[in-house]
């Protein structure tokens, strides 16, 4: 158990921030203010927060399509994230990326990929760079249970293992890929069992327990910094929302029981950490209420910032295609 009260409270704070951010995003989709796809992270917050708090500020991370939580957990700016969701020029990617593609290279958030497992080689490449330069940075690479079946996933784990690269592969096993349960499509009982094939540690963690995630990832980070190579951490978790907002209109057949969702809500990561803080006398109910209000206000302010921000101008459409620009046909 963790003695550091400040850290324990920060865990709850970041989870609240992610929860409110995503609740806001879902509402914006429902109201039609946010266009395109949104994959909510609600229920899974402990995985990103536990993992990212085990990193240093100059460590790197990569995310996936369900990735509002990862950059917020890594210390990203919710205003720029919200502005990006609304396609505004003040967004992280000046409105070119949207919900699935937040990135903040200034604090090591190397981007998120809408293509499953596609960012894993990027993570491994960043780790390779740190090794070539003799730095001590590590990389956390987040991916889902569904993505674990992509061939790229196996290639990158093997590559990271043979070169002993400082990567922490964090599999967020929320047990479904859209509507397909992982037990139907993964040959081993746990995804972390595959670590044996790459001769690296594989650890199954209660992904609803932010402290357990923090501890498991911290151990992997320490190994990585010592030059002992990558680890595979499987955070067993659950998503409450459908795969993406508005999916219910497409997927009409039930694929999971209401009781299952109800059960996992009793293991809500925020609830668990909240109770723990109170039990350990690290925070009072009143202090937590204040923190909740502050995080809600932060999200409200971010939304206001995003709403007031301008859309990108039409002439920006060709911007940033290249770093060293070349003439291109603009007709």
């Amino acid at each position: 158990m963790i003695e550091d009260k400040e850290l324990m409270v920060e865990m709850l704070r970041r989870m609240l921030c992610i929860r409110y951010f995503d609740e806001q995003a879902v509402e914006l989709v429902q109201r039609g203010e946010l266009v395109g796809a949104v994959h909510a992270y609600i229920g899974e917050e402990a995985v990103a927060v536990g993992a990212c708090l085990a990193l240093r500020d100059n460590d790197y991370m990569t995310g996936n399509h369900r990735s509002h939580g990862h950059p917020i957990a890594k210390g990203g700016d919710v205003r720029r994230a919200m502005a990006e969701l609304l396609g505004k020029s003040t967004g992280y990617c000046k409105g070119k990326g949207g919900s699935m593609h937040l990135a903040d290279f200034s604090i090591g958030i190397l981007g998120e990929s809408g293509i499953l497992a596609s960012a894993l080689p990027v993570a491994v490449g960043a780790a390779l760079a740190t090794k070539i330069r003799g730095e001590k940075r590590v990389v956390a690479a987040f991916f889902g249970d569904g993505a674990s079946n992509e061939g790229t996933c196996h290639e990158t784990m093997n590559l990271a293992a043979i070169w002993k690269l400082p990567v922490i592969f964090v599999c967020e096993n929320n047990q479904y890929a859209v509507t397909t349960r992982f037990t139907e499509v993964v040959a081993t009982p746990n995804i972390c069992d595959r670590a044996a094939a790459y001769n690296i540690p594989g650890v199954l963690v209660d992904g609803q327990d932010v402290v357990a995630m923090y501890e498991a990832v911290s151990e992997a980070v320490e190994r990585a910094r010592l030059g002992l190579g990558p680890s595979l951490i499987e955070g067993r978790t659950y998503r409450y929302q459908d795969h993406s907002e508005g999916l219910r209109r497409i997927v009409r057949d039930p694929y999971r029981a209401e009781e299952e969702i109800a059960y996992w809500r009793t293991r809500d990561p925020i609830l668990l950490q909240r109770n723990r803080l109170m039990e350990m006398k690290m925070a009072s109910e009143a202090e937590i209420a204040l923190m909740e209000a502050a995080e809600r206000a932060r999200i409200a302010e971010a939304l206001q910032f995003a709403r007031q921000s301008p859309y990108p101008a039409p002439e920006e459409v060709f911007d940033d295609l290249f770093s060293n620009p070349i003439p291109i046909d603009r007709s």
């Binding site: 967004g91 596609s118 740190t130 330069r133 093997n158 940033d320 070349i326």
Partner: protein, 322 residues
């Protein structure tokens, strides 16, 4: 100046740039053993971490180049064109799109060396010339040198460029010899075509290994009183449109020779561009000479039918004069 081969010119470019800039490193399959000549000597000269033999995992290492570049290194990838299919997601979803999609936050100085080995009886799986497919994908720069000097100058420019560059090396040219400058800063800018031979009657734009064939065709046509101007675009993205349009303005006739399959080839793009922007200078329909729209068959009896040769170029030039 020294007369060296195309392969040695590439080797020189890589060595010089690796000496000049510590952030340059190279990786690929069995490159430490100097496979294909081009990477010869690198493992002897540079630290092990800068000359990496990878597992046969193209997605992993071609994508790792993106990650390494994103945090400030300048990777060079060595592979063959046909193996890029295996890593296509990394090339497209990551290398090509990342800078734009993340709003210009990241520079990706990567050189993807892509050898093309068509025409030597190695059958369809190893004979790809996929440059047009990559031209269709914004965010990639595409280079295809024809002479040893161009190979060196363009590769050095590619390594110093801050964007992903696919550097197509036509293996039919590897043994070609030519004068190559020894200057450390011998750079050939992207987007500047080179008129490899001046002429007045017909413009022939020829890519990579098509260039020697076009020059040979030009010699033969000269004997028949036809003066051919041979233009080498050198880079396809960016394309030196003006050089091609200027040549067509002079000759009024255009033949484009491309080793890719004809449909949606680079030749198609160049033909479309000239018909849109140089139409009033044309005196005859544009001719595309490209590989047939079929896979490369193994049998020597069949393979030679598929890709462009001197005869096909000569016939196309004559069609513009009918």
């Amino acid at each position: 100046m020294a007369v060296i081969t195309f392969a040695d010119a590439l080797n020189q470019a890589i060595k010089e740039e690796m000496r000049r800039d510590k952030s340059v490193f190279i990786m690929g399959e069995s490159i430490r053993g100097g496979i294909y000549g081009v990477t010869g000597g690198l493992s002897q000269e540079f630290e092990a971490m800068r000359v990496l033999d990878t597992p046969l995992s193209e997605s992993a290492f071609m994508g790792a180049a993106v990650g390494a570049a994103a945090v400030g290194l300048r990777p060079i990838i060595s592979s063959l064109s046909s193996f890029y299919w295996v890593a296509m997601d990394q090339m497209v979803s990551q290398a090509a799109k990342m800078t734009y999609m993340f709003g210009g936050q990241v520079r990706l100085p990567i050189v993807y060396r892509a050898g093309m080995t068509y025409g030597n009886n190695i059958a369809a799986h190893h004979s790809d010339r996929p440059h047009p497919m990559f031209m269709n994908m914004p965010g990639l720069k595409i280079v295809m040198p024809t002479t040893p000097a161009d190979a060196k100058g363009l590769l050095k420019t590619a390594i110093r460029d801050d964007d992903p560059v696919i550097f197509f090396e036509d293996n039919t040219l590897m043994g070609a010899r030519g004068d190559v400058p020894e200057d450390m800063d011998f750079l050939i800018p992207f987007g500047v075509a080179d008129v490899k031979q001046a002429g007045t009657d017909v413009t022939v734009v020829a890519l990579g290994g098509m260039l020697p064939r076009a020059l040979a065709a030009a010699v033969q046509l000269k004997g028949e009183g036809i003066s051919v101007e041979v233009v080498d675009p050198r880079t396809l993205v960016p394309l030196d449109k003006q050089a091609i349009l200027d040549s067509v303005a002079k000759t009024g006739r255009l033949v484009v020779v491309d080793m890719a399959h004809k449909t949606c080839s680079a030749a198609s793009e160049i033909a479309a561009m000239v018909s849109q922007e140089g139409f009033w200078n044309l005196r005859a329909p544009i001719q595309r000479v490209a590989s047939l729209n079929v896979h490369f068959p193994f049998s020597p009896a069949l393979e030679k039918l598929v890709f462009p040769n001197e005869e096909k170029i000569i016939a196309a030039v004559k069609r513009t004069l009918e």
